[in-house]
Subunit: 443 residues, 2 copies
């Protein structure tokens, strides 16, 4: 894991902290979203194993050091600085909300406390990996909600923002409630069910559609899913039906899905195949799924690609990573930004989840007996202190939390008022104190 | 490069082709976009080196084979099939449009001809890597056009769809005309200029803003760029100005950028620093850049993150990879899809670029002397036949092409009529022939 996969300013700051003799200072950063993405009433935390893997394996190779020395900003730095890079290990503490937990605006997904340089450097990577998977898990939860009990499968790798993003999208979509993914590497690496049978090119590579269908049945038996829209959808349905059992069903990928699903259902039923299923694909999203369901289309499963793997209606989570505390020579200093639109709350925090509201409090506060403190220790002194739940466990956690969640929060549109997140008295007190102090100092 | 980073159906089809004895059949696929993304009048091709790297290094490891055998669909396949996977090498031909070339709807970025299984398997990866970089290069070109000569730097890794996507976004944005990127690994791996100085956390980690600024100047000298909005932007500008030279300038990251830029400019000028520059950042995109430029804001450079690295107004390119020809036992068969919205044109194609229009013709057609055939041989018989241009060369190609392009195509909005792309007589003739044939066969 190259330490250069970060913004250059993390590295210039590292050099600056080193030069300024600030290496013994400890910093606490929090990763959170200021505002929920449009039309979302919650986000679903995801991406922790990749974040942990990064932190525990973050290194500067000799090649990395050589590259840095070619940059003007680093050219004059003494060898001792590069030795510091060569010896770099993450030695800090990380507290994180378990994957699959719904969160609201302002609630940290992750808190990181470490010597300043170690805490600063990972910002870019942590935001990108936690931000992306959280975005996709959240999007998947919307699709699954709209599907109202019918299965949703993630098919989006080809439209993901790079092949690697496709692997992580498959993982995150599964946590968000999808049945599985078409991404085979995601299946292998994360133990996620994988789905897929054949494409239009399969049909077209045989002289006739019927021969293509027969060959597919020979190959897949009871898993056979005929893609029936290459030439004429209803004709395709008749050809599929003529082959009888075994089959799983058929897939529709174009046309008016409500009408076609009804007509195809009738063809399958008439052929004595009432158990044959209909899957719909083709530029679907949660709104179209809702419409199909509302229109009573006899669709048994949905395959969603582009709009899921890119979270196309809200392709950015807007997560931030903010310095909230410094510890310098044993003394603690709380930090915040007061600029117009981007103010932050000082001090390390904890999220206390009650039955019907959350309280954002200070990290040290004693939780009431009837609430759960969501940020749990994950890495202490650079060592993982508890095994990470699997994607399957995270998915189960998400399912349970979503089942408990008030229905209105699961709307595909923004609900008003938002879920109540209160600030604890202690946190409000700290905010006031820090702001006063800043006024006195003129910073 | 794991061959499992693909959709499962590519692998089930591979098994099916193998079982059906179709391994000697050769297929030609084309990668193109059916429609341009909203508000785009062209796309800028990018991502070829990653596509080539994938094709030349595509392998099934023993671990990959072991995983596949755990799947029901593969459990009954004979060992000989898995031996075929173990021996898998890409042996086909690839023709591609050079990176940095503007393209229009329907024009192939890449044509791939290979034995059926080798041609099918790479679909997912090729679409994701070429699609993503083309999307971002196109988006970057819009930003650069809007900036009208002021520099644009890519700062989006933290909001990219995974850290790896951030590296590729930095590369693609550079090809699209950005001055460089904040992604240090993109700088190292692709020889792209890297930019970045310090974040809000730098300012906040020192007891006062002034001390933070002084330390930055010590570190960076003439490259010093003060981020002045942590507490109060104008106060920050005065503090920065008080330190005099050396400096590059200041960065504004929030507030009304037109007003603030004017006031900050006045502060810098009054302090005898007329050469100090102003960079603007903070949720910018091409429309906001256009407004800032139109408002006469004295901004010298723009840093763009989220909206660039996610192409947020159009986060999907919608590229497809379609079978257009089969060669079976020496006989050629042309393939197409006739379904309602997703019809395709049969036969391998070539893009002939004339001065004021393009012609989409058949691959074998003889080009007129006054046009350029854009699809050029890249891999023949599994071997790279010409070195790939660097990102810097691709960027220069894009710049030259964009300079020649009619102004109206560079609008941030859709222009009507679209750029003329005609079909050659030979291609039209083939289309008609294939459609007739399909009617006769009833496929």
């Amino acid at each position: 894991m190259s330490a250069l996969l970060t913004d250059l300013y993390q590295l210039t700051m590292a050099a600056g902290y080193w030069l300024a003799g600030k290496t013994a200072e400890r910093a606490t950063f929090e990763l959170f979203v200021r505002r929920l993405p449009e039309n979302r009433n919650f986000i679903l935390a995801a991406g922790l194993p990749q974040a942990v893997d990064y932190l525990l394996n973050l290194r500067f190779s000799e090649e990395d050091v050589r590259y840095l020395r070619t940059l003007e900003q680093f050219a004059r730095l003494p060898e001792a600085f590069f030795d510091t890079l060569r010896a770099f290990r993450f030695t800090g503490d990380v507290f994180a909300v378990p994957e699959g937990t719904p969160l609201f605006a302002g609630e940290p997904l992750l808190t990181l406390r470490a010597p300043l340089m170690e805490a600063q450097l990972p910002e870019t990577y942590l935001l990108a990996t936690l931000g992306f998977q959280t975005l996709i898990a959240t999007k998947a939860a919307r699709m699954v909600e709209a599907a109202g009990g019918r299965g949703v499968v993630e098919f989006g790798t080809r439209r993901a923002h790079s092949p690697g993003a496709g692997v992580l999208a498959g993982r995150a979509a599964y946590i968000g409630g999808c049945l599985g993914t078409s991404n085979t590497l995601a299946g292998k690496d994360f133990g996620i069910p994988v789905f897929g049978t054949a494409a239009h090119s399969w049909v077209m590579s045989f002289p006739t559609e019927l021969e293509a269908f027969r060959r597919l049945q020979e190959l897949l038996g009871p898993a056979t899913t005929y893609l029936i829209d290459s030439y004429d959808t209803l004709e395709g349905a008749r050809r599929a039906a003529s082959l009888g059992k075994p089959l799983w069903g058929v897939r529709l990928d174009s046309g008016n899905l409500v009408e076609l699903a009804r007509e195809v259902r009738a063809i399958l039923d008439a052929a004595g195949l009432p158990d044959a299923k209909i899957m719909a694909t083709g530029d679907l999203n949660e709104y179209k799924i809702l419409e199909l369901a509302a229109g009573g289309a006899p669709i048994d499963a949905y395959g969603v690609g582009t709009d899921l793997a890119t979270s196309s209606d809200a392709p950015r989570l807007g997560a931030v990573y903010k310095l909230v505390e410094m510890e310098v020579a044993g003394e603690r200093r709380y930090t915040a930004k007061y600029s117009e639109e981007k103010a932050t709350i000082p001090g390390a925090k904890q999220v206390f989840r009650y039955a019907h509201h959350d309280v954002l409090g200070r990290a040290g506060e004693c939780p009431a007996p009837d609430c759960e403190a969501l940020l749990k220790p994950l890495i202490l002194g650079g060592k993982l202190v508890q095994p990470l739940p699997s994607a399957t466990e995270a998915r189960a956690r998400a399912r349970a939390a979503l089942d408990r969640m008030p229905k209105k929060l699961k709307s595909l549109f923004e609900c008003d008022p938002a879920y109540p997140v209160e600030l604890s008295d202690e946190l409000q007190h700290l905010m006031e104190e820090v702001r006063q102090q800043a006024r006195v100092n003129g910073t």
